[in-house]
Symmetry: C3
Subunit: 150 residues, 3 copies
C-alpha cells in the first residue's frame, strides 16, 4: 500500500484497510511518500535545511493531528467535524488507528527519496518508522495479493 496523500480522510481509509487486513492475518506494509510523510511527522525541524525545505516544513502539517480533509476542510473545521462524527459512532480516533495498526504488526515505511527532496530527517518522524526506497516497495508489491495507491 502506497500512502501518497496527506489528507486525513484518505490516510484514515488507508489505516482502516491496513488494520483490517492485519487483523485477518495478512502481512501489511504501508509506504508513505510525499504528502503522506506529513502524517508520520512528530516535530518541525529547520536546522540544516535549504530555504525551500524550511518553507515546505513550515507550510505542511506535523502528524495526523494536523491533517485536514480533502474536501470541505474550511481551515480545519472539516477535520474536527469528521473526528467528532467518528467519536459519536464509537469509531477509534485517527491516532488510535495508527497505534492499532502498529500493534497488529503493520509495517510503516517512509519513502527515502521523498524524505531527501523534502529535507525530512528520520528523527522528525514518529519512532520506529523504517526508511526504504522504491525497491523496498516493489519487493513487497510483487509478492503481495493486493496493492493500493492512496
Amino acid at each position: 500500500m502506497v500512502v501518497f496523500s496527506g489528507d486525513l480522510d484518505r490516510v484514515l481509509a488507508a489505516f482502516v484497510i491496513a488494520s483490517g487486513a492485519a487483523a485477518s492475518g495478512m502481512e501489511v506494509s504501508m509506504f508513505f511518500t510525499f504528502w503522506g510523510l506529513t502524517a508520520l511527522r512528530q516535530k518541525r525541524e529547520s536546522r540544516g535545511k535549504t530555504l525551500f525545505q524550511k518553507l515546505m516544513g513550515w507550510m505542511t502539517p506535523v502528524g495526523i493531528r494536523e491533517l485536514g480533509v480533502s474536501k470541505m476542510n474550511f481551515g480545519g473545521i472539516g477535520a474536527k467535524m469528521l473526528r467528532t462524527m467518528m467519536r459519536q459512532q464509537g469509531v477509534p480516533q485517527p491516532e488510535e488507528m495508527v497505534q492499532m495498526a502498529r500493534e497488529l504488526g503493520v509495517r510503516l515505511v517512509a519513502c527515502q527519496m521523498s524524505m531527501e527532496v523534502m529535507g525530512i530527517r528520520k528523527e522528525e518522524l514518529i519512532d520506529g518508522i523504517e526508511v526504504g526506497g522504491v525497491a523496498t516497495f516493489l519487493g513487497e508489491a510483487t509478492r503481495s495479493k493486493a496493492t493500493l495507491f492512496i
Copy 2:
C-alpha cells in the same frame, strides 16, 4: 475496486473500468466508501441524525447527477461541460454507465463504517446496493487479479 472519491471524473473512470472488466467476463466488485457514497445516494434524509450528520448530508451531493469534477468544476459548469462532451462523442452518460455496470453483474457495495459515521441509511441509497465492511472488501481483494483505489 475501492471508490473513495466523490468526483464525477474519478467515479466515471471507475465505472468504465468496472463495466469493461465485467463485459470481458471478469467478476467485479466496487466498494463505495466516504465521498464515494455520495454517488449512490438517491435522496436527502435528516430524520434521526446528529447535527453534523445533517450538515454533511446537506453539503454533499445526492447521486451521480450532482457530482462535480475534480478540477475546473466552477460550481458545476465543469461537470455539465464534461457531460456534453461525452454526449457529443457518443459516450454513454454517467447514469447509463451505472445502469450498464449493474446489468453486467458488477457488485456494488457500500462501506458500512462510512455509512455509520456519515449517518447514511440504506434507504437513502439507490436500490439493490449491498452493505459490507472492510472484511468484505478484503475477501474480494485477496482473491482478485487486480485491485484499484480510486
Copy 3:
C-alpha cells in the same frame, strides 16, 4: 498502472515507481487517462474541435513542464519549488524521468475514450505513444503482479 491524475507530484510518483520496476526487470505499462493525458501533450491544437474541446485544450496544461502540484501550487510556484528541491538533491527532473522510463522499456499508452471525449489527437501527444482502450488496460492488469490507480 493507470495515471488518471494530471498533478505533477502524482505523475512523478508514477514515473518513479514505473522506472524502478522496469529497472528491476519487470514489464511496466502506464495507461494515461483523463487529466493524465495532459502530461503527454506536446502541443495545443484547435482545428476541427468542438467549442468545449477547444476550451478544455486551452485551459489544461501542455506536457509535464506545465503541470502544477496537487497542493499549494500557487499558480505554478509550488511546481517550480518542487523542481528546484529535486535538483538540489540530485533527483532527475520530471522530463528526464519520462525519458528514463521510455529507455527502460516502459510502455506508455494513451486512453482512447479520453482522447475522443477531450478531442485530443495522436499528433498532439509526444511521439511514440500507443493508443489503447479499456481492454488493453484490462489485458495488462490481469496478467500483472500489481496494479495502481494514481
